[in-house]
Symmetry: C2
Subunit: 298 residues, 2 copies
């Protein structure tokens, strides 16, 4: 049931992204940087689970938000997520050759194209949200641009990645790890859950609740990731594993042990369930998402 | 008189950018990626002429736009311009060690930090425009986000940079050069001139006129740049081909000669003057900007 929902949204997101990045798309200028566009497609149209768009779509549905608007904001968020993967994979960053079993963008194309493809996907995310084709009230549109910029920039994902690079030289303490992860992986997941009530024009209290829900999901996501990194092999993950610990990066699992992490995951899911209890049965799919994030195997 | 105006705006832009990027600035999270912020400051607080913010400020003034809003949109545009310089300077791109006599960001810091600093400056540009501190009507705010994203992305600056990389392998013809330059350097200058009427809520016709003015400025800027590249290298290296030509990049100056380029510059300035004639004496400073761009010596 939950899996059907997730797969269904992934199919619709894939179709929309394919349309947005189609080679024949009018982009306002005569010349077409075809190779750059091909690199963007390689980065985005890769069969991902589309978890972030799914959270946008489901959190918007909870408050009766426009479905088309939610799907397009979800697609924008996915572009932004994919930009971060392309830049993280660069030789100067994590230096990864494979992602989901495919060559990363700088391997399939070249490093300069990978830098520009990431830049263009980041920019495209804001274009999608600002475009009139995305049916949003002006106030909601501005709120989404601001929230997305804050989630992605210095105080969010990019800042978290910078702290992560620093962590390779000096391992952070527990509080440092929590903050780093809240920025690096948490910020976009918080945005995904918060975006729904913003799209729907829901009350500020609902926005705060969904933001807290996103916070819990983000922490569960990272813990599950760290546990997988510890236990799974490269075949399951489609990327190199055991790498974070090997580089001396601190993780909460490394610091506090596997048993603690598994108990903490249960606690996070329970807290997420409790948080959405006031919304009753309508919140079932979002609660399913929390369980999915905590129990995922790749 | 014009120089005073330009210097005056540069001083105010520098003060605002210093404030926006101050180390103590609250960025919404506990941890502070200080090194990343330092790299952003290195990229932005470099004593540039701030031509793009100047064009925003003057084009807004022409239509009675809010001065503070114009200055902040100008600062956002400068952050975006500086992001493009940081990424262009990377080893995988133009591989430049020096900019304005200072080490480039990847030299002063490291390559990973330079990539993230560029990413964060690009993101910060959208944050500044979307932030409530920038006094804009919601409609104008959305229009600016959309126009800036289009000027910066696949169909604008980043796309132009991709075409420029391709031009090193296969020299484009005249039409190809014109398109490449309209995207790579023209798009942000067009945005700068168009932003003023948008900030002021001026009529669509005024927006179109200022966009055309920006188009002319952009072409003049690039021609002046190519002429400088030619003469600067000729002086130091005793040969008639500059750095771009030496790399196999086509320029209009290389294709059509120095005499043509100098006449074309005059023609572009005349066209700019004529375009703004209906605005009378109020447009004097913007016309001064067109002359400045055409005649600049560095």
């Amino acid at each position: 049931m939950f899996d059907d929902h997730l797969r269904d949204t992934a199919t619709r997101v894939q179709a929309l992204l394919t349309d947005l990045l189609q080679p024949a798309a009018q982009i306002g200028e005569v010349a077409r940087p075809e190779r750059l566009l091909a690199a963007m497609r390689h980065a985005v149209l890769n069969g991902g689970k589309r978890l972030r768009p799914f959270l946008v779509v489901e959190s918007a549905w909870l408050f009766g938000g426009d479905k088309d608007a939610a799907l397009r904001v979800g697609a924008a968020l996915e572009c932004l997520h994919c930009y971060s993967l392309v830049h993280d994979d660069l030789p100067a960053m994590d230096d990864d050759d494979l992602r989901r079993g495919q060559p990363t963008v700088h391997i399939a194309f070249d490093e300069a194209t990978a830098i520009l493809a990431g830049d263009s996907l980041l920019t495209f995310a804001f274009e999608i949200i600002a475009a009139p084709q995305t049916p949003l009230a002006d106030g909601a549109r501005t709120a989404l641009v601001l929230a997305l910029a804050r989630a992605a920039g210095l105080g969010g994902m990019a800042g978290g990645q910078a702290l992560d690079l620093a962590a390779e030289k000096q391992a952070p303490d527990e509080a440092g790890i929590v903050t780093l992860q809240a920025m690096k992986t948490g910020a976009l997941l918080r945005f995904a859950c918060e975006a729904g009530p913003v799209i729907a024009g829901a009350a500020e209290g609902d926005r705060q609740t969904l933001r807290q829900f996103g916070e819990l999901i983000g922490r569960a996501f990272q813990l599950a990731d760290d546990l997988l990194d510890l236990t799974a092999d490269a075949a399951t993950m489609g990327k190199a594993t055991g790498k974070d610990a090997g580089r001396g990066k601190g993780t909460l699992v490394g610091l506090k042990g596997q048993a603690w992490a598994e108990a903490e995951l249960d606690r996070l899911v329970d807290a997420a369930v409790e948080l959405l209890a006031p919304y009753g049965a309508r919140a079932e799919t979002l609660i399913g998402a929390a369980r999915f994030v905590a129990n995922r195997k790749n």
